[in-house]
């Protein structure tokens, strides 16, 4: 009951937040110099016809109301650049790729990151710890376009273990998952290590040890749960940004995901697509943060769901 009330309250706040965001981004894109059709060579009459067709000849506030009305019906409008295709359709076809890749990357980063972090904390100062720190440094400092090209060249072109591009079978997913997940893995491993070390010296872990519990029980039953808190905070925005598509990795491996649309829509001033993708991403971010808060409350009983 408490949980339901909390979720309801958060959803209302989220809707208001997204409404503000839509409004701001709608007017912001109109402020960018130029229009979606400036680059195209056409006669003045045709241009006017196109403007009239898309409703761009009307005053901006009128365009805004029309847009908002359509948005309430779940209609994000038609793309100006990808002719005859609605923004809804673009998201519907491209998002599944991004979602699939993103989920794989998150699963990979989370399992490996947690494992490395825990082992490193327990082997502090030993070989595994050093290895983890090296992975963490490489993962956070090497940009994904370099990592992407590197693994593609090494494992696909040279060693021919995996196909270099496209996204049709499991083998196709391995390299992009690695390239996309490594950065997250590094961050998660680093945070897990620090937070585990903090928890190891806490009193309740000593109590657990004094009870004569096994190492496994001490780690899983008493340390991990408390050590996870900062990682969960990290995870919300991380997951949101990864599963809504990433430009670089999708580009390197020629995956028809949502990532490229972020860039091309801005380059081409595709008003509806820019606003549509912004709403889509924002909704995801808000949803993930809501989930994080709920998971928080489930893990730590001291955090009540009342604000």
């Amino acid at each position: 009951m408490k949980l339901l009330k909390f979720i309801l309250k958060r959803v209302v706040v989220s809707v208001i937040m997204i409404f503000c965001l839509v409004t701001i981004s709608f007017f912001l894109v109109k402020l960018i110099p130029g229009s979606p059709f400036t680059s195209e060579k056409m006669q003045a009459g045709n241009k006017a016809a196109i403007y009239a067709y898309y409703g761009l000849d009307k005053p901006v506030y009128e365009q805004y109301f029309t847009y908002m009305k359509n948005l309430l019906h779940g209609d994000l409008g038609t793309s100006y650049k990808i002719r005859g295709v609605t923004v809804n359709e673009i998201i519907r076809t491209a998002f599944p790729y991004s979602l699939d890749l993103g989920m794989r990357a998150v699963a990979f980063a989370l399992t490996m990151g947690l494992l490395l972090g825990i082992v490193a904390a327990y082997q502090r100062g030993k070989a595994m710890d050093t290895f983890t720190m090296i992975v963490a440094i490489i993962g956070t400092s090497v940009p994904s376009f370099i990592m992407g090209f590197f693994v593609q060249y090494l494992f696909a072109v040279k060693l021919k273990w995996f196909p270099p591009a496209e996204y049709t079978s499991f083998a196709h997913t391995v390299l992009p998952t690695f390239a996309l997940g490594l950065g997250m893995l590094a961050t998660i491993a680093k945070y897990t290590r620090t937070s585990m070390l903090e928890v190891i010296s806490s009193d309740y872990v000593k109590t657990a040890d004094a009870k004569g519990l096994s190492k496994f029980r001490i780690i899983v039953g008493h340390q991990l749960r408390n050590a996870l808190m900062p990682i969960i905070t990290l995870l919300g925005p991380m997951i949101a940004s990864v599963i809504t598509g990433t430009f670089v990795v999708e580009n390197v491996f020629a995956i028809p995901g949502l990532g490229r649309h972020y860039v091309t829509s801005v380059q081409g001033l595709d008003y509806t697509l820019i606003t549509g993708l912004t709403i889509f991403f924002a909704a995801f971010l808000v949803l993930m943060n809501l989930l994080v808060d709920i998971v928080y409350a489930l893990i730590d009983p001291r955090i009540g769901l009342v604000e």
């Binding site: 009193d203 000593k206 109590t207 040890d209 004569g212």
Partner: protein
């Protein structure tokens, strides 16, 4: 079956830090009889907690390192035991209660689970049996409505109740030795006497030996049969409660006793205290650790650690004043006069 449940010989523990080796416990030897309550007193940083927790290696290593010494528990030398072997001792035969009940229970785990998991780890019991036993334990530790408490989290309980939960956890397997590390320091006075009463009852009914670490000389007088005074990582005096309180032979013990506020004292007089601060354990003094703060310190005190002097009936002290060559200063000390030696600042 030996009378002694625990015998510690020449036990030394250090911490390896970036600043160097912190010699927290230096050459501590003592013995504890079955069913006996031994109190360890001494100011913060004297090595009491480090010493008792190192008996079963509860401190993370590194940085903690047991340098030397033997720990003979129930006739067996457990000082060489590894984690797996120690699991048969920890919680089962030696149990611990720590100082701060606010932090020594896991905030994210229900009370019930924290009590039952020790039972499940040691005894071959079903979950239902463990649960029933846990309710019983909570009740015998003096917790009302134990059934309800089982489903609660630590933050829903008061400090005193949490310490009772710690006691319930500690006595789960009917240990032969309970180490209570300042169990009442974080609690208020009425709760303190209740908790100590509970510990004493359990000591009697289970025949469980207790090591009680405390700052409070009043607690010592009410609880313990024997006292061990620690300073600067060393034992400076040990003996029966009566000997320590009335015939103390070490200047540090006397200062500790003098620092206890008295109800019948002049209320305008300043409280007694020991001038100075404990030694830096990174570079402990070569001689007696108390020498720099001692009113009776002689030349020899600064350069050489005094050996043990047996005063009879198990009353031992480590002080040069008990040496027959001590002369004038020792006479003054025994008379209770203040002597400031030429070398003392």
């Amino acid at each position: 079956m030996s009378e002694q449940i625990l015998k510690v010989e020449h036990f030394s523990v250090s911490f390896d830090t970036y600043a160097g080796e912190v010699q927290a416990v230096r050459d501590v030897s003592f013995a504890l009889n079955r069913g006996e309550i031994l109190s360890i007193v001494g100011e913060s940083g004297s090595g009491k907690s480090v010493m008792t927790q190192s008996l079963v290696k509860l401190l993370p290593a590194p940085p903690a390192r047991i340098k030397s010494g033997k720990v003979i528990f129930d006739g067996q030398d457990i000082s060489g035991y590894r984690f797996k072997q120690l699991r048969q001792i920890k919680g089962q035969k030696i149990a611990y209660i720590f100082q701060d009940p606010m932090t020594s229970l896991n905030p994210t785990v229900k009370i019930g689970k924290q009590v039952t998991e020790g039972l499940l780890a040691h005894a071959s019991v079903s979950r239902q049996e463990a649960r029933r036993k846990a309710v019983e334990l909570l009740r015998s530790a003096g917790i009302p409505n134990p059934d309800k408490r089982m489903e609660q989290y630590p933050h829903e309980l008061s400090g005193g109740m949490r310490q009772r939960v710690m006691i319930a956890i500690a006595i789960a397997m009917q240990p032969q030795l309970l180490v209570a590390d300042e169990p009442t320091t974080a609690l208020d006075v009425t709760i303190q006497s209740q908790i100590l009463g509970t510990i004493k009852d359990l000591n009697r009914s289970l025949g469980m030996a207790v090591i009680l670490i405390t700052h409070d000389m009043g607690v010592v007088a009410g609880m313990a049969q024997r006292v061990m005074v620690m300073y600067g990582g060393r034992v400076v005096e040990s003996g029966a409660v009566r000997d320590i309180f009335y015939h103390s032979a070490h200047p540090y013990t006397r200062s500790l006793l003098a620092a206890v506020p008295r109800l019948d004292a002049d209320s305008t007089a300043p409280l007694e205290h020991i001038v100075g601060s404990p030694p830096d354990m990174l570079a402990p003094p070569a001689g007696c650790p108390f020498a720099p703060r001692c009113r009776y310190a002689m030349e020899v005190c600064r350069s050489h650690m005094p050996g043990r002097t047996e005063l009879g009936d198990g009353h031992d002290t480590y002080c040069w004043l008990c040496d027959s060559r001590a002369g004038e200063t020792a006479q003054a000390f025994l008379r209770g006069e203040r002597v400031v030696h030429s070398g003392t600042e």
